[in-house]
Symmetry: C2
Subunit: 208 residues, 2 copies
């Protein structure tokens, strides 16, 4: 029942398998041969669709990773509830659904940033597009929070957005060191404490 030729499907299959392999092994340790074995695609086909390994990796970032992460962020801006509560809910969700394997794998974006951003300028650029889109979406959400009264007035939203991205990636990162999910969840709970401080100071200061 296998279709003889389907270039789009072939390309997508390669991107998906490359994403998984790179997520698990990192880009440089990702094996072209393993990606081929996983998909059943041959080397000739791969090098027909991508000029070299770097182009494959960057296509994974631009086409798979970027879109996958955008699905998460846009939740921040299409709802009309307050963004800080949304962020807290996402933290709770991450804590609730954390399991050993996903913690060990880490964030695919952060993994690549740590490995490649300092080594390859092209990689750094397309990774930066993903990460800065994240920061921008977060900053917009925080600005919206200020406007609808659910965000602390004095807050520097761009600065806070940068920190939130960094802190979250950091929580996922240090979580890898723990035996199970403990370090990860503890770290996230500390982050939840921080997120509460992004709210207007009314509730906290009621007892003074």
């Amino acid at each position: 029942m296998k279709v003889k030729r389907n270039p789009d499907h072939t390309r997508d299959a390669l991107l998906a398998a490359a994403f998984d392999e790179i997520h698990a092994q990192g880009f440089r340790a990702a094996s072209i041969d393993k990606i081929l074995a996983r998909t059943g695609v041959t080397k000739g086909a791969l090098y027909h669709h991508f000029p070299n390994k770097a182009a494959l990796g960057q296509a994974v970032v631009n086409e798979v990773l970027f879109e996958r992460m955008q699905e998460n962020w846009q939740r921040l801006n299409d709802a009309d509830s307050d963004p800080v509560s949304l962020l807290l809910a996402m933290i709770d969700d991450a804590i609730a659904h954390a399991d050993r394997d996903t913690v060990a794998l880490g964030c695919p974006l952060n993994n690549l940033v740590q490995e490649m951003a300092g080594l390859d300028e092209d990689f750094r650029e397309c990774l930066n597009k993903v990460q800065s889109a994240w920061r921008t979406a977060l900053a917009a959400a925080l600005t919206r929070a200020q406007q609808n009264g659910t965000g602390r007035p004095g807050l520097d939203c761009n600065q806070a957005a940068a920190f939130i991205v960094g802190a979250y990636e950091g929580c996922v990162g240090v979580g890898k060191c723990g035996v199970g999910t403990e370090v990860f969840t503890t770290c996230l709970r500390g982050m939840a404490d921080y997120l509460h401080t992004l709210r207007p100071a009314t509730a906290l200061q009621a007892n003074c």
Copy 2:
């Protein structure tokens, strides 16, 4: 004037060169041959001192990385000034001394954690020793702050310590994505904002 034999010096030279190579390339991409070329040590000598590459890498973590990082933490506990101010000063210092190359290299501990913690149990274990020692030192400092009145009373110190470690590593991590030091420093300034919330609420709530 070269001393004919000096096993301790040979071993130290290998560890130092391995640290640099691993810091720059990661563990798996670190080349034994390049470490040898850098030191002038031969392969026979290296494999006399270390049974294999993994043992060399773990020795780097246990002997070089651990001690190097401990020098930074013990500042938190030997002074009698308040720890939160010390942390803020360290952030300021990091911002002031940040340069393009160090940001691109990233934190040697975090680099290794991201690369190896999920892949190799032995590595994870010795990296965890370094990182948990950091968390412990931080938690102790925060507890001390609570005791001498410079720390917020209700704070869960272990949780906050975990978050601080994660957030800082995250700031260094996402900083790699930026063109220069901008993302890194913005992120750290956001972190400084967080650190202020660890203080007792007196100063902030004075205007209510």
